[in-house]
């Protein structure tokens, strides 16, 4: 039973967040902050698979996010909203609620297919050269979107607001927040279970020594393809959710290297290879951005300085490669598996 405690706690917090939003206890501003927290957690935890656990340096996560954002948005606008380009909605508004997650999943699949662009070169390339490939893919995606006039080109794509309004019109609930938190839970569970599976051990083996892993019969190509596709797919999921946020508007300028940098910062701040670290830093970074909002432009002078100082204080990030349960072993009696807590009791 114990191994379900952590998901249960996160679920409980999510229910509180969603319930609070539904009953208007949290105002629009706090709902927005909660939304960004959820999306940032998905992005950070998914990038941690590549940059933390696998030890590669992917600096183009925003590119995959863009793919997910555009594919999902085009689908939902085409299916459920009245649009100048795509015409009247294909399906009645009532279908939007059950089919929205399907659109999200299709967006995630599209992003994971684009992830192959990185996964296949990664068979032969490592480290900084792979970093360039991810960087180039980020530019390619952004530039490709800018050249597609159908979906607005550099001006961006609108209409997701109408989709969300249609959904709220059928049944009033904070739908986006609900799906964001479900997506966040699913992401955490997927990455957690993936890392304790055989594939996850393979990912860690690749980080330590790729050649040795290969000799120990780890199918490195397969592990890499799966890890990249999983990570990129989850980024696409985050992108799909992000696109339906307030304003209901995406433009290619959002998904630049700066966005990728933001995600990387959250990963390294939390610690490479620590899911709880990623969650903490995603929440903390989102709050920091909001707290410093009154500073205006100065915000981006203060934040880098803060982060550099933080790096100098803790050169391994907040949690290093440990989980929260390793830092505070007492937590293991609540959240850890039963064997672990027995081991703790017998110490």
């Amino acid at each position: 039973m114990r191994k379900y405690y952590l998901p249960l706690v996160v679920l409980l917090l999510s229910v509180v967040a969603i319930g609070g939003s539904w009953l208007r206890i949290f105002n629009d501003y706090w709902q927005l902050v909660l939304l960004f927290m959820g999306i940032n957690i998905i992005l950070t935890v998914s990038l941690n698979l590549i940059n933390g656990y696998m030890g590669e340096f992917s600096c183009g996560h925003a590119g995959f996010m863009a793919v997910g954002a555009y594919v999902t948005s085009v689908l939902t606008v085409w299916l459920f909203a009245d649009d100048k380009v795509f015409g009247p909605p294909v399906l009645p508004a009532g279908w939007a609620i059950p089919l929205f997650p399907v659109a999200l999943i299709i967006g995630a699949i599209a992003a994971s297919l684009v992830g192959l662009l990185v996964a296949i070169p990664s068979f032969r390339t490592r480290g900084d050269y792979l970093a360039i490939i991810t960087l180039a893919v980020n530019y390619i995606v952004k530039s490709a979107i800018e050249n597609m006039e159908v979906i607005g080109g550099p001006r961006g794509f609108v209409g997701m607001k109408r989709v969300m309004n249609n959904m709220a019109g059928v049944f009033d609930a904070p739908w986006l927040l609900i799906w964001t938190f479900i997506g966040m839970l699913v992401t955490i569970l997927i990455i957690r279970n993936f890392m304790s599976s055989t594939f996850g051990k393979g990912v860690e083996a690749i980080r330590e020594d790729e050649i040795a892993a290969e000799l120990m019969s780890v199918n490195t190509k397969r592990v890499k393809v799966i890890a990249f596709m999983l990570s990129c797919g989850l980024a696409g999921l985050a992108g799909g959710l992000f696109a339906h946020g307030p304003g209901g508007y995406v433009n290619p300028g959002t998904f630049t290297i700066l966005k990728s940098t933001e995600i990387m910062v959250m990963v390294y701040l939390g610690g490479m290879g620590s899911i709880s670290g990623s969650i903490i830093s995603a929440i903390g970074f989102t709050l920091l951005l909001e707290l410093l909002r009154p500073l205006g432009v100065f915000k981006w002078v203060v934040i880098p300085l803060l982060l550099v100082v933080m790096m100098l204080r803790r050169p391994t990030g907040i949690l290093g490669n440990k989980e929260l349960t390793d830092v505070f072993p007492k937590l293991r009696t609540i959240f850890g598996s039963e064997e672990e807590s027995y081991a703790l009791a017998s110490d």
């Binding site: 940059n51 340096f57 662009l117 296949i120 070169p121 032969r124 390339t125 900084d128 050269y129 970093a131 360039i132 490939i133 960087l135 180039a136 893919v137 530019y139 390619i140 952004k142 530039s143 490709a144 800018e146 050249n147 550099p154 020594d209 050649i211 040795a212 000799l215 290297i257 940098t261 990387m264 910062v265 390294y268 490479m272 205006g296 432009v297 100065f298 915000k299 981006w300 002078v301 934040i303 880098p304 300085l305 982060l307 550099v308 790096m311 100098l312 050169p315 391994t316 990030g317």
Partner: protein, 309 residues
């Protein structure tokens, strides 16, 4: 395409490539010694241009209109020299304050990269918040002259920029191959643990690397200002990322690689813009680079390091 048009584009590409190459040299030198991608380098280029702008404006204002006004070549020389020295100071300060302490704590290499990214952001936004978002007109230090030879027109600045890039490359290559300091740099990039034991002052060599890289960025910044007459707080971002990509495609850690990568990227960009819609420039350029790296993962001149198990 007529020959004259082709030569015109070629010349433009050579100029644009010279900027990439000068910036890429800084990336490649720091990478060669430290294996650190110094993502702040594009912004050091921006800092160099701004320092040059302030020095030039100050000197031009000094006794302007009177007999005391300095001759223009003195202003140019002082601007380049002053900007290179001050920018080198900025580069070394960054290394001392942000990179070295982290290195000495044994932080993972990628934490240094993130720190470099943060330093870059800091420089950009410090500029934005103190000097404002408006572009600044760079004073005309070198009076522009336009020559036309056989239908191809070019300015003297274009020739200076291209010539300078080539001179710098040859000079650096000689420095690395023929001097003791250069030998020490190559030795450090070859083996980081044994070299300090041989009595090579590693930290001093690293400082020299940052001085060279940053002053070259400053030189590029001033030339950029002289060629395009406009500088802005975000001028270093895109050109910096692209120069880095150029350095890697050429084979990072190799002087020739930085040059070839820079010119290659510029050629692709200029000719795509000339032949098709210019919005496809980035798309085609990066796709070509992706293909090159997929076929030759260590870049054009890069040598794969043998891995031991």
């Amino acid at each position: 395409m007529a020959l004259a048009t082709f030569l015109q584009h070629l010349l433009n590409a050579l100029q644009w490539g010279s900027f990439y190459a000068l910036i890429a040299l800084g990336y490649t030198m720091v990478y060669g010694v430290l294996l650190l991608i110094n993502f702040a380098h594009g912004d050091i280029f921006m800092v160099g241009a701004y320092i040059g702008f302030f020095i030039a404006t100050f000197l031009l204002g000094l006794g302007a209109g009177t007999a005391l006004a300095l001759p223009s070549w003195v202003i140019l020389a002082l601007t380049i020299l002053g900007s290179m020295i001050l920018t080198a100071g900025v580069g070394v300060t960054i290394e001392r304050v942000a990179y070295r302490p982290l290195r000495e704590r044994g932080a993972h290499r990628l934490y240094l990269v993130i720190t470099a990214l943060m330093i870059g952001l800091f420089l950009e936004y410090l500029n934005l918040s103190t000097l404002g978002a408006a572009d600044r007109g760079f004073p005309e230090l070198i009076p522009t002259e336009i020559y036309t030879v056989g239908g191809v027109s070019f300015t003297n600045i274009k020739l200076i920029v291209i010539g300078l890039a080539i001179v710098v490359m040859v000079g650096l290559e000689l420095f690395l191959r023929r001097t003791k300091w250069g030998m020490a740099m190559r030795a450090i990039s070859y083996d980081k643990t044994a070299v300090p034991l041989m009595g090579v002052p590693v930290n001093a060599i690293i400082i020299v690397t940052f001085i060279i890289g940053s002053s070259l960025a400053a030189l590029a910044g001033i030339m950029y200002g002289a060629a395009y007459h406009v500088i802005s707080f975000d001028m270093g971002i895109l050109i910096g990322w692209k120069a880095f990509i150029a350095a890697v495609v050429g084979g990072i850690g190799e002087i020739r690689g930085a040059m070839v990568g820079g010119f290659l990227l510029a050629f692709i960009e200029i000719f795509v813009a000339a032949l098709g819609p210019s919005t496809y420039r980035d798309l085609v350029a990066f796709t070509v680079l992706l293909v090159i790296l997929t076929i030759k993962p260590t870049g054009i001149f890069g040598v794969a390091r043998r891995q031991k198990v």
